[in-house]
Amino acid sequence: MTVTEANEVAEHPDDLAVLEEPEETPGFARRVWRGASERARRLTQAAFRPREPLGTTSAAIVWALTVFGLLAVWALLYAFVLSGIQEHRTQSVLYAQLRQELAQATAPFGGSIEPGSPLFVMDAPTGGVHGLVVVEGTTSSQLTAGAGHLPTTPMPGQAGVSVLLGRSVTFGAPFRNVAAMHPGDIITVTTGQGEFSYRVDDVRHVGDKLPTPLAGGQSRLVLITSVGSGWRAGWAPQQTVYVDASLQKGAVQPAPAGRATALVPGSQPMKGDSSGLVVLVLWLSALLLLVLGIMWARGRWGSWQVWLSAVPLVLACLWGATQAAVWLLPNLV
């Protein structure tokens, strides 16, 4: 650039971007460059001679970092806020379904139960559980509904130890406060076989004594969730915690045969659901296609129009991708 040319440019700073923009500059780099140049212009008020734009590589780094940051913010937003909204919605749908099944006496309580179907309603006022619908299955994806029943165990109200797993951080965190219950607190469960009240015996942390073995024909409920300690408390749990409760009110019901005897992988406490990986890849592919589409559309369409139509799609893809990603996390988180 000659001095003359530079002066001309300086006299028309607004043309700077247009003049200096290389044809092949990718869109994002172009925007960075323009934004930076305007800031610089405000800062320096033409006291400096115009500067070289940022190199393509540098701009890419800046943008990549920013985008990753934004994605991470989205992930946190989803994990702590949006997933709760999703769980709330799921719960109300399941509640409506279960309410009808209970009324028609078709709520399942034995045999082979479709994973993910609502089983019963649970209330534990002191544990912060109110009208929670518990579903069959405890994989990370099934627990997005809130809490799940371990399929190899009997149903509450039937003889034996019934095990429920629930999340403590994400997806509405239905079991966030169950570890705060005290012996003597009441857990009420309404299944297709009736209403049962359980009295909390103990809250067991790692190292505590196991409860006494259950005598034949008795019923016990075990809630499992996760807790964190120290700086991880409340948002990054690292250990399981158990709440044991014995049947206090309600007669033990017979258990129809044909219950599952094996678990699908990822049903045990703190296991992730690796099936989310496939889903995640698909959502990310969709996201990639969408980004390419936006770039293509911006060349032919106005910015506003593009963003107006793209933002909902981007959000939907992000939502799906984050949800699948959360499936990979431990199911009690």
Binding site: F48, L76, P154, G160, H205, D208, G217
Partner: protein
């Protein structure tokens, strides 16, 4: 079309229907006949008080099996020394066959041939079964002394003008009253006498009888044909009370097989000792001329469609006349207990095993062994498709299932697949050669099977003209040069050959179809042809089946071509104007179970639903083509080997290996190995079974069977039958029953035989010499695992998969719990050391259990993901702009 078929069949029937030893019978007890008897019989007229011999013969009859017979079972009757037969008709079971001259009549009769037995339990013409009333009634409307009235040996009462006439005379039979009649009522097991009364059946017929013949399920009464040397044989289908209650044979009601070599009536026209009204008198000369006739036809001549021209004196119709009846050879028959015996004698709740039809013959013999033994229990085999049974087992709806092949995906439940029997599927063939005899052997290769299955034969010339894609293909398999090359001596074109354009197979899901299609899929020739490469003669696959993915459990009907122009011609009124009915699926017309296929093959019923019944009437509909005329049959069907053995179906030899000439035209079977189902070929296949770790059972290696030396002799249709039972979660009592059943199945249940608790023909006994030691040893381990119900799963590769560790109240749960084969096997059963005892189930009161302490499950790296994401957010959002600023400042320098 039927008439021409019959005529063609009759024309080629020439000598007899005797050749063609069926290839069935190879997988059963030895071929030594169970019964053999020789009798000298003669025909001698009484002329002026002097016995004048006409003919004397020494007849020997043998019967393949006489004891432990079961319903609808086929047995072979053979004879020699009989008078050669004339006036042959194609269907020796039809009532028309009774007009043959000098037949050997074989019939099933209730009672024993023992003069010391009570009269009611003795065999007599009145207790012998015929399908139509025509076969037990004679009337003459002009002449008063037909041959049966001048029968030398007949009782006086049988020589009266209206012998055996019902009293009172049924008014419906007025038209039947002739100058001389003879009635042979059929006395049913309940004592009721059905007088029949000629073609119309005016005096009543048994419920199982029919007026016309051939009925859909033909009569077993056989008018057997002797060849010019007097030899003959017949396949006789015995009936028990289950099929024929009027005849009523069972394990408690004795019955006999009566073989009557017809010699002709010994005439006595003087009738010196009879009342005068029964003496021919002036008519004696005419009566003797009629009675002493020796045959209208020459021996070996066919009736050629003519009727009522035979010489009655030597015809099969007079089988009941004493001159013939006294020459009978009576074979006592005894029957197995009916399959329904268990529901009659034992009302206890049975142990149900669902699944494979190929197991049915075995369980029919095993069932009574269990239910009749008070120390055992009742078990019931509910026959369903194997995939369905496996799904029910997987879902926990049932407790045990018989499978004929491994599940497509491993069981996720802890289920052991314990071998209980080895058998095979067979291609049953009812094919007659150019002489009208059943073809001795039929050879099929996978490509021919693929052609039959894939609707690639256009089936007739109209379709061939209409369907361009198949326009160059042979109309049916008989016209296919590949089939002709492998099977010389069979007709190369057949009239109305739709039945030869398809193979009768299953419409439902079945392991049999999986095995069959696995065999096809492993064959390069068949696979290449299915992929679209024409065969060396230019025949192509139906485009709808091109590149079909095999194996499958259900063979799909994919063709959709509708020959509208041909339908419009009105050839088939049922299809005229039908725009939505493709033709080839009608030709295929699969059925839902193997038993139906077996029945169709036993009675030569072609199943293509293309005959228009009640044509042009409002109730017109498409029905099966129906029975094929003997001598002109050409049908194929898939069924099981035990069925083929019981009903004596002929089976095809299947190609195992190709040593030369693959991919080129061939004119004979040189270079190709074909194997029929037999003990030896099943044994060779068992030797090739490979244990499969993932599915935890043995599989037949179809690929290596095509190349290895053992494979050349191994029957490719071999099926390993296993009983699938869960090894955890069953009630103890049920588990004990299934364990007992398993131990029996591989123990005394493998004793070959026809009695209760024995292994029927068609199954290879799993003995050490037959290579079944590994299979039975595994089943015994499986029986223990089933009895224990600990969840420990025996593995076919050796060792045991430790019981699964359910997530427990203790919270630990690191043990594998997935499907079979995913967790590493350990050789010692027992809970993994890191976990406390499972306490998910109710613990027996009073049981002591060491109290442990709660072990937690750490969240591991997964629990740190959220903090990491937060870190990433901070880094990204701070570092991005910061870097930008830094770069800006640097570049602004």
């Amino acid at each position: 079309m039927r008439r021409r078929g019959v005529v063609a069949g009759v024309l080629v029937l020439g000598v007899a229907l005797l050749a063609g030893p069926s290839s069935a019978g190879a997988v059963g007890p030895s071929d030594t006949p169970a019964f053999s008897k020789t009798e000298t019989i003669s025909r001698a007229h009484l002329v002026a008080g002097v016995s004048t011999p006409v003919d004397t013969r020494t007849v020997t009859a043998t019967v393949s099996q006489t004891t432990k017979l079961r319903d609808r079972q086929a047995i072979t009757v053979q004879w020699s020394g009989a008078h050669p037969t004339g006036g042959l008709v194609a269907d020796v079971n039809s009532s028309a066959a009774s007009q043959e001259e000098y037949p050997v009549v074989v019939m099933q009769c209730r009672g024993v041939d023992d003069s010391s037995a009570p009269t009611a339990k003795q065999v007599s013409p009145q207790t012998c079964w015929t399908q139509t009333p025509l076969e037990r009634f004679q009337a003459d409307y002009g002449f008063t002394f037909p041959p049966y009235r001048v029968d030398l040996w007949a009782r006086p009462a049988d020589r009266t003008a209206q012998a055996g006439q019902p009293d009172p005379f049924p008014s419906a039979c007025e038209g039947q009253a002739g100058s001389a009649t003879h009635w042979v009522p059929f006395v049913a097991a309940d004592g009721h006498a059905y007088y029949g009364g000629g073609r119309s059946g005016c005096a009543g017929i048994a419920p199982e009888a029919s007026l016309s013949s051939p009925a859909l399920q033909p009569s077993n009464t056989t008018y057997g044909v002797s060849d010019l040397s007097g030899n003959g044989s017949a396949k006789f289908v015995v009936q028990t009370a289950d099929t024929n209650a009027s005849l009523g044979c069972s394990d408690t009601v004795a019955c006999s097989l009566v073989i009557i070599p017809i010699m002709g009536i010994s005439c006595d026209t003087d009738a010196a000792k009879l009342p005068v009204e029964d003496q021919p008198g002036d008519a004696a000369a005419d009566a003797f001329a009629l009675c002493s006739k020796t045959g209208f036809y020459k021996p070996g001549d066919t009736a050629g469609g003519s009727v009522d021209v035979e010489d009655l004196a030597v015809a099969g119709q007079l089988w009941w006349s004493e001159s013939n009846w006294r020459n009978r050879i009576t074979v006592p028959l005894s029957f197995s207990q009916s399959a329904s015996v268990c529901s009659v004698f034992n009302s206890a709740v049975p142990a149900y095993v669902y699944g494979s039809e190929t197991m049915a013959q075995a369980t029919e013999q095993w069932g009574p062994h269990f239910c009749l033994n008070s120390t055992l229990f009742k078990f019931q085999h509910v026959q369903t498709g194997e995939p369905q049974a496996k799904n029910l087992l997987e879902s926990g709806s049932i407790e045990a299932a018989f499978q004929a092949g491994a599940p497509q995906t491993p069981f996720t439940r802890r289920v052991v697949e314990a071998p209980v029997a080895v058998t095979g599927f067979v291609v049953a063939v009812e094919v007659d050669d150019v002489h009208g005899h059943p073809a001795a052997t039929v050879k099929l290769n996978p490509r021919l099977l693929a052609k039959l299955l894939s609707e690639s034969y256009p089936s007739n010339s109209s379709m061939k003209a209409a369907y361009a894609a198949l326009g160059r293909n042979p109309s049916n398999i008989a016209e296919d040069p590949e089939f002709q090359a492998l099977n010389p001596g069979l007709p190369t074109s057949i009239l109305n050959g739709e039945q030869a354009a398809s193979i009768l197979t299953l419409s439902s899901d079945s392991d049999v179809i999986w095995a069959l299609t696995s065999y096809l899929n492993a064959d390069p020739e068949a696979r290449a042809w299915l992929n679209g490469t024409p065969d060396p003669w230019g025949m192509v696959v139906n485009p709808r089946y091109e590149r079909i993915v095999l194996p499958v459990t259900n063979w799909p009907l994919l063709d959709t071509f509708i020959p509208k122009d041909w339908y419009a011609t009105g050839t088939n009124p049922c299809l005229t104007g039908k725009q939505g009915v493709p033709w080839l699926p009608l030709v295929s017309s699969p059925v839902s179970n193997l038993a139906t296929i077996t029945l169709d093959m036993q009675f030569d019923i072609a199943n293509p639903l293309i005959s228009c019944s009640n044509a042009q009437l409002p109730n017109q509909k498409l029905v099966a083509m129906g029975r094929q005329a003997p001598g002109n049959r050409f049908i194929f069907g898939i069924t099981s080997l035990p069925d083929a053995e019981r009903y004596q179906l002929s089976t095809a030899a299947l190609q195992t290996q190709v040593s030369s000439g693959a991919g080129t035209k061939f004119t004979d079977s040189t270079g190709r190995t074909f194997v029929a189902p037999s003990y030896d070929s099943l044994k060779a296949a068992v030797a090739m079974l490979k244990p499969d770790k993932t599915l935890n059972t043995w599989l037949l290696p179809y690929a290596s069977m095509r190349t290895s030396s053992t494979g050349a002799g191994a029957y490719p249709g071999t099926l390993l039958l296993s009983m699938d039972v869960a090894v955890e979660g069953l009630p103890k009592a049920d588990a004990a029953r299934y364990a007992t059943l398993l131990r029996f199945a591989v123990g005394s249940g493998q004793t070959p035989g026809l009695g209760n608790g024995q292994l029927p023909p068609g199954y290879l006994p799993l003995t050490t010499t037959n290579g079944g030691a590994a299979l039975t040893a595994f089943s015994l381990r499986a029986a223990n695992a089933v009895a224990n119900q600990t969840g420990a799963l025996p593995l076919v590769t050796g060792g045991t998969l430790a019981p699964p560790v359910p997530a427990t109240t203790g919270g630990a749960g690191t043990g594998g719990n997935g499907g079979v084969g995913t967790p590493p096997p350990t050789t010692t059963p027992g809970p993994p050391t890191t976990t406390p005892p499972p306490t998910t189930g109710p613990v027996v009161a009073g049981a002591t259990q060491p109290l442990g302490s709660t072990t937690g499950v750490g969240s591991g790296a997964g629990g740190l993901v959220l903090p990491l994401v937060l870190l990433l957010a901070l880094v990204g959002l701070l570092a991005g702009p910061l870097t930008g600023l830094v770069l800006r400042v640097r570049s602004g320098r």
